[in-house]
Structure formats: structure tokens, C-alpha cells
Subunit: 470 residues, 2 copies
């Protein structure tokens, strides 16, 4: 007969570590570095610290590597370390509507789990806040059955740094160079985080430093409340049963952005729901008519203060780091769309493009993908960005494209950045943006504006050629 | 300052329902049907019952649909219903090494969660075992904060059926026909489950019945223990600390397939580990040398009794249902590879191919993908099957393929089925097989044997042409 069982989240990911991105030895090493570096940059940005990161990869034996990532971030309260690093789905970013690289509460714990499975070793975390006299060093692993940390050592250590965190993990991996490598990731990160100094030491001991080009802390995105557009009936009902607000008007004013008490009144009156109604007494059909009336009311889009774009200047630098000495013929002005909304979450798209000149014409166009300032180097085939590029017709720009579909062949580099407090990814490895209608359409719309610049440029060239021929 | 929080798995998927496949209205309706039908087929197969399924989709309002799936399966113990349907990561298949469609413990609960979020309604489950006098009807939802069921109704009802289960869910959706539709899924399911009778009623009330063509229950795959190939150091250490076996020899004999006590002795002696050693005393470096010695010992591959192929006859039928009246010129004999192993899990690949004749030559070749007898209709771009097809050079067969890479254009239909107790999927929506090296290579190797048949066929045609010309 069948035996029913509850599976803990860490047991699920122990058996499904490929979903987190650990599906090959080279990708595993890449993911570990990415999770640690993303965390360091997020922590520095949240505390207004100019990032100073050190990434070191040493080879331990044939296919075992040790990764060390050290930052000058704020450090972590020692009480929180076991859970933040040894427990899946525990973190400080899931519930906050602000653009950060991390958003799930899984990243670094997944890397520690992978290290533990493949080597049997625990990981080392050392952290110190400015307010701490000493740093605290942990050697910890994960009790997979119960999804809790397993602490082997917890001890104070003397640290010369004022504050910061160091993460050291051993795991099976393979160090590679080229397109989907640790080096490529750090290079693409350095470009769009110009205030970060990142020093990288590879397994041969060679050190490369990505120097900072700006001396200011990053502009920190501010947390906002969800926007009512995209709210579902069930979500409103569960909010009404959990909320501490005493009236339906308060429920809207307390929990949503862009809703004043006047706007709340308007929404509720249109839905024939008493503004002073107690939220716990809301019925399903009342919730349905409220959702309908939200759809018919003009609301301001969410504030852009929760967003943090790459900006024009650094998009240009991003593309320059790709084409290097091959001078393009056309440099598009990087463009950015307005703030859009998907399921209550604001998002925006910014795009840059270069074309022609020395760029190779017989290769597929190079599409550089970013989400929340993190380069996406894997799973291009299932990403909203690749889909948007493929759905446009590039043949009128001298590019080759079979039946007007698919990534075009031709001398172009296209950089696309999608950013917002809650990017929908295809899976927990966060390498591809889910191909959701509104997102794909917005990417296409900003791309078309960029392509219009290219058409004007090409037309000018044609005109000049004709003038020349006369 | 930052607030750390633990997120429950249901809260995580409430905010990330696109990862489960609910990223558009039409895909949502598709996924709901798929999860329910997969469960019904699995339950019938496990109890040797010839499946008789009813799928009904009714339109409730503008974009609200109700899905009902009724089966003649074994029914479920009423005590288990709240957890099986109202709690994520609870099920009877995660811990068992046997080929089934379900393997995560998420499927149907995810569909119920989606229905609850988008309509605020609970779902209805009615079930009866042969040993029950009456059926039990539940109206339940999910308490998202705590990942437990929320039961609104639990009552006995009189049912004329001897045994079975009915699942009824209301949700936001969009009913479509064509390539990625519910109808297409049921058609492709019916072909490879020939003993299943599936009646489908669409929102217009039109009924279509896929009649069964075989009157026997499916051969049930048998549960096996994991195979030692692919075992990692950390996994061996955590097994050694949890196991009830009293010696290392017993640990291997009790927990792995293809390991007799002689083989266990051989593995342990090669690793200079005392066969009678207590598992709880195993050190990390001993575990490392045991893993090394497993790699150097010849072990039989896992038994194929845990596998359940589609078989040659039904692969042919699968392709016939695609090409219909367009007669191909070449019918390849469906081929199947031997049992391979990935991370201790056995898997196999079977492939069929038709080519030429009336098939359209200016379209991309049609690749029909299956995993554990379930058709994969989404995310082709990130699937191991698509990658394997794209990496082979098809130009020598009269197909067009840019620089010998990508899905070829030409008059071919290729059906690929990957099957085994634990298929690694890219994400929890189970629509794409993770592009893991061993799996991609095995698909390519079986494909090449199939292509060799095609080459022989083409050569024969050439020869005959030349003979004719003389
Ligand atoms: N270097 C660091 N400095 C400060 N805090 C950190 C650092 N690394 C991790 N943390 C804290 O630990 C928490 C857990 O990290 P983890 O990577 O698991 O999740 P996350 O970053 O919130 O989300 P994601 O899963 O998307 O990466 C973070 O939310 C953060 O509060
Ligand atoms: N129609 C059914 N008849 C009998 N048992 C069922 C039926 N539907 C679901 N179950 C039981 O409920 C459990 C949970 O189903 P669920 O779909 O959530 O998970 P699963 O099928 O085990 O895995 P997956 O997430 O991969 O679908 C199953 O494991 C099975 O035991
Ligand atoms: Mg993180
Ligand atoms: Mg299931």
C-alpha cells in the first residue's frame, strides 16, 4: 500500500538541485559565486556602503574547489546567521517590495547545501557588524530532514575589518573560462555596478581587479507597498481575513500604494461596498466587484523610487566591454520605458544597441541579458528577453532571420535590462525571466523605439550614398 | 533595519506561481488538467485498474472556468485527503524509486492554490475506496501562511461508483485549441496510454471520447533502491548517520540495488574500510575513498523493472496521430537505448522518426517530447530533448540547418521519450527536462541510430534512382 509523506523543502532541493542551477560541475561553481556576490552587493547597497569585494577560487583536489567571497558590507547579527545561511526560505528580502538582487531566501543556503552534498563538508561564515567588538565565525551545515542549520562551531574571532562578511564553501565543481564562466559573470557585474571594486583570484593564483569608476554609494531603492492593479479576488479575501485594519477603506490605504482614502472611497462605492465595512465580513462576491471596479479606475502607476536602473552611461559601458576593438558603425542612445505593472509589481525595461561597423555579420546577434543588475548567462532559450528579440522582424535592418522569427543573424549587440521589486523567473535558479505577456510586450516596445533610431541611421546612410552617387 | 522572516513553501509559490506553470491564463487551465489527469493515470496504474477518465471544462463567467476530472481509480483514504490536496510537498511518490508521472508532491495542490488565489473559491474533492461504504466529499483550500489544508466541508455522500476520485476546481483561465491546448494534451496522452478511455467535454458542451484500444491494465513499474553510481560523499555521510544498519556492509546491502554482501565487501576493502565498521563512526575521508572505489568497481546497471516504456507499437501510433493523411516516405523502426544512470537514478530513452513523402519540407522538423508518458508542450527552448536534436548535424539528410546547429527545417517528425523514476526537470512545472550531460548524450546516441536507418533508406533511394537512369 502507499505511504504518504511530507517532504521538507531542503529534502526537495537536495534531490532537485538542478532546479537551483546545480546541473553541471561548471555551472555549480558559477552559481555559488553568483549567490554570494549578489548577497554582498545587496547588503552594501542597503546600507549605503561602497562595495569592496574579494572573490577567491582555489583548487583543493581533482574536482573539488573552495570558493571564498569577502565583502565590506554591514555584517549580520550573529543570532540570524544560522537561519540566514542554514535554512532554506529564510531571509530579509522576500516580503519587501524594493528592487534587490535577492528575493527568494534560498540563494546562499542552496550553495551551502550543494557543498555539503558533494563533499560532506560544512561551510564557514565569518561576520562582523560595526557595533560588534569581535567577528563571529560559524562552521555550519543543513539538517536536511528538518530544514534547520546544524552548527559545528560558533566562536568569536578577532578581525581587523570594521564590518563585513566572509563566506567560504567547498564543493565539487569545474573552473572554466569563456561565455558562461565565473570571470564573465564578474566582468558583466563590474560594468553595471561601477562603484564596486571586485578583486578576483582564479585557481592558478592569478589576480584580476575590476577597479571602481565611481566613488558614490548606489542609489538605494525604497520599499513601496503593492499596487492594486493585478490584485486577485483570493488575495483580497485572504488580506481581508488577516488584516488589522478596521474598515475596508483603511485596508486599502494601509496595504497599497497610490491609494488615498478618497481613492479607496471611489473604488468601494463603484463596487457598492460600504467604505466602513469590517474587512472580516467581506463576502466573495463583494471582493469580486471590488476587483472589477479597480480595473475601471484610473490610478497613478507605482512610484519609481522602488526601482534602480543601470542608466544610460553604464549601458554604453556594458556594450563597450563586449565589442572592445571592433568599432560598431551605429551607437543607439540607450532608452528606458515607463514604469509598468505586472500582478501589482512595478517593473521597467532599459535597452541599448550597437550595430554594423566591424561587428561580425555572419554570427547570431549578441543579446546581453540583465535582471535587477545581475547578468543572466544561462537558459537563454526560455527567457522573456530572448523571446521578445525573436518575435520582432529584423530583416528590414539588413539582418538575416528565417521567416522573420528567432534571434537574427547580423552585426548587432543588444543589451536588455528588466528590473523591479519582484521579477518573475522561470525557476529558482533565476537565470531566465518568465515569458509573461506584459513583460515580453514591454521589452518589444522599448526595442522598437531603439530600432527606430537604427532605421533613421540606415536611411541617412542610404541618402548620403545616393547623394554621393549623383 | 532589516527584518528576517521564514517563508512557508505555500507562501513562496503563492508569489511565484509562474514557476509552477501558471504564467498565463491559457497555460493555467492546461496545467490544472494535466496535474489532475496525471494523478488519475498514476493511481489507476498503481492499482492495476484500466483507466476510465472524464474531463469536463465549463465556462462560469468571462474568464472563470471550472475543471472537473473524474476517475475510476482506487480512491484515497479520507484521512489523507486534506494533506494530499491541501498541503504542498505532501504525497506518496517522492520517496519511491519507481517510474510515475508525479514525483514532487506539489501538482494538484498547486492547482488548488491557483484556483483559490484567482477566484477566492475552495475546491471540491470527492473520493471513495472499494472498502468504503460511502464516498467522502471535501470542500477545501490552503492556509498559505502555514501550508496546511483549510477544510470548509467534510461529509459522506452516496456514490454509485465502486471506487474513484473526482477533483473540481474553479480558476481564472482561457480555453484555447491548437498546439498548446488541453485538447492537444489529452490527444497526446491518449495515444501513449492506449488502455485509457478519456472522455472530454469542452466549454461549448461538445464531447470527444478517446476510446481505449487495449483492454489490459498497464504494466506497473516496480520500486527499486537507488543505484550506488552517482552517490555523493555528503549523501553517504548523511545516510551513515541516519541509518539503522549496524555495519557498513549492511548499510550498502539494505539501501542500494545491485549490491550483494560480496560486492559491498569488495567496495569497502578497496577503500580500506572495515566491512563491520559502525556506520555512525564513518569519517569524511573514509566516505571519500568509498565513493572513489565505487567508481572503480563494475556493477550491474539498475534493473529495468522500475521503468515503463511507451513501446514500439504506440510510438508509431503517436506519430501517426500527428501526420494523419500526409503520408511520410520513410518509417523508422522505433528504437530504445539501454538503461543508463544519472546520480543513482536509472533512465532510458526511446525514439521514433518518420521522414519525407507528403510531410512539409519548409517548416521546422516537428519534435514530439514525452517524459514518463506525459507530453511536454511548453518550454521547448530549455529542454534536453530539443538541445540534443539541435546539436546533431541534419544537413546530410537533406534537411536545412544554419551552420549545422538548431532544430532543422525539413520533412521530419521525431518523437523522443525519456523515462525513469526521477526525471530531472528544469522547474517544478515539469515541462522541460534539465539539459544534463548524460541525458543529452544518451538522447543523441539513440537519435543517431535512428538517423542511420534514415541514411540507409536515402542511400537505397539514390541507388534505385541511378539504376533507373542507366
Ligand atoms: N554578505 C552578506 N551580507 C549581509 N547579509 C547577507 C549576506 N549574505 C546573506 N545575507 C542575508 O542572508 C539572507 C539569506 O540570503 P539568501 O541568499 O539565502 O536569500 P536572499 O538573498 O534573500 O534571496 P535569494 O534566494 O533570491 O538569493 C539575505 O536575505 C540577507 O539578509
Ligand atoms: N486521482 C487520484 N487518485 C488517487 N490518489 C491521488 C489522486 N490525486 C492525487 N492523489 C494522491 O495525492 C498525492 C498528491 O498529489 P500531487 O499531484 O500533489 O503530488 P504527486 O502526484 O505525488 O507529485 P507531482 O507534484 O509531481 O504531481 C499523490 O501523491 C497521490 O498519492
Ligand atoms: Mg541571495
Ligand atoms: Mg501529481
Amino acid at each position: 500500500t502507499q505511504e504518504f509523506k511530507q517532504v521538507s523543502i531542503s529534502e526537495f532541493f537536495e534531490k532537485n538541485r538542478h532546479i537551483l542551477g546545480f546541473d553541471s560541475l561548471q555551472r555549480a561553481l558559477f552559481i555559488m559565486v553568483k549567490e554570494a556576490v549578489d548577497n554582498s552587493l545587496d547588503a552594501c547597497e542597503e546600507h549605503g556602503i561602497i562595495p569592496d569585494l574579494e572573490v577567491i577560487i582555489t583548487k583543493i583536489s581533482n574536482d573539488i574547489y573552495e570558493m571564498t567571497v569577502r565583502d565590506n558590507g554591514p555584517g549580520i547579527d550573529r543570532i540570524q546567521v544560522p537561519k540566514a545561511f542554514g535554512q532554506l526560505l529564510y531571509g530579509s528580502r522576500f516580503h519587501v517590495m524594493r528592487q534587490t538582487r535577492g528575493q527568494q531566501g534560498l540563494g546562499i543556503t542552496a550553495a551551502i547545501l550543494y557543498g555539503q552534498i558533494t563533499t560532506g563538508e560544512y561551510s564557514h561564515i565569518t561576520t562582523k557588524r560595526e557595533s560588534d567588538d569581535v567577528a563571529y565565525h560559524f562552521e555550519l551545515g543543513i539538517d536536511v530532514k528538518n530544514n534547520v542549520a546544524h552548527i559545528k562551531t560558533e566562536e568569536p574571532v578577532i578581525w581587523t575589518k570594521k564590518n563585513g562578511t566572509e563566506v567560504r564553501i567547498r564543493a565539487k565543481g569545474k573552473y572554466i573560462t569563456g561565455r558562461q564562466s565565473v570571470f564573465e559573470y564578474l566582468k558583466e557585474v563590474a560594468v553595471v555596478n561601477p562603484n564596486a571594486r571586485i578583486s578576483f583570484t582564479d585557481p592558478e593564483g592569478t589576480k584580476k581587479v575590476f577597479e571602481r569608476s565611481i566613488d558614490e554609494p548606489s542609489k538605494q531603492s525604497k520599499a513601496i507597498k503593492p499596487h492594486p492593479y493585478g490584485l486577485e479576488v483570493g488575495e483580497l479575501l485572504s488580506l481581508a481575513s488577516d488584516t488589522t485594519s478596521s474598515t475596508m477603506t483603511d485596508l486599502f490605504v494601509d496595504n497599497f500604494s497610490r491609494v488615498s482614502s478618497n481613492t479607496a472611497h471611489e473604488i468601494l462605492e463603484k463596487a457598492s461596498v460600504e467604505p466602513k465595512k469590517k474587512p472580516t465580513e467581506l463576502t466573495r462576491s463583494e471582493a469580486e466587484s471590488i476587483i472589477d471596479s479597480i480595473g475601471n479606475i484610473r490610478l497613478m502607476p507605482p512610484s519609481a523610487e522602488c526601482l534602480s536602473p543601470i542608466s544610460e552611461q553604464f549601458i554604453r559601458l556594458g556594450m563597450l566591454s563586449v565589442y572592445g576593438d571592433e568599432r560598431p558603425g551605429f551607437y543607439g542612445k540607450p532608452l528606458s520605458g515607463s514604469v509598468k505593472i505586472h500582478k501589482g509589481n512595478p517593473f521597467s525595461v532599459e535597452i541599448g544597441m550597437v550595430y554594423g561597423g566591424d561587428l561580425p555579420a555572419d554570427q547570431p546577434a549578441r543579446v546581453i541579458r540583465y535582471a535587477n543588475k545581475v547578468p543572466l548567462l544561462f537558459q537563454p532559450g526560455s527567457c522573456a528577453i530572448t523571446q521578445a528579440v525573436s518575435e520582432l522582424d529584423w530583416r528590414q535592418y539588413g539582418m538575416e532571420q528565417k521567416q522573420g522569427k528567432g534571434v537574427p543573424y547580423g552585426p548587432a549587440i543588444i543589451l536588455v535590462h528588466v528590473y523591479g521589486p519582484k521579477i518573475p523567473y522561470v525557476s529558482e535558479s533565476k537565470e531566465a525571466i518568465a515569458p509573461i505577456g506584459e513583460i515580453v510586450e514591454e521589452i518589444k516596445s522599448v526595442l522598437k523605439s531603439e530600432m527606430r533610431q537604427l532605421r533613421r541611421f540606415n536611411n541617412r546612410i542610404e541618402r548620403n550614398k545616393k547623394m554621393g552617387e549623383k
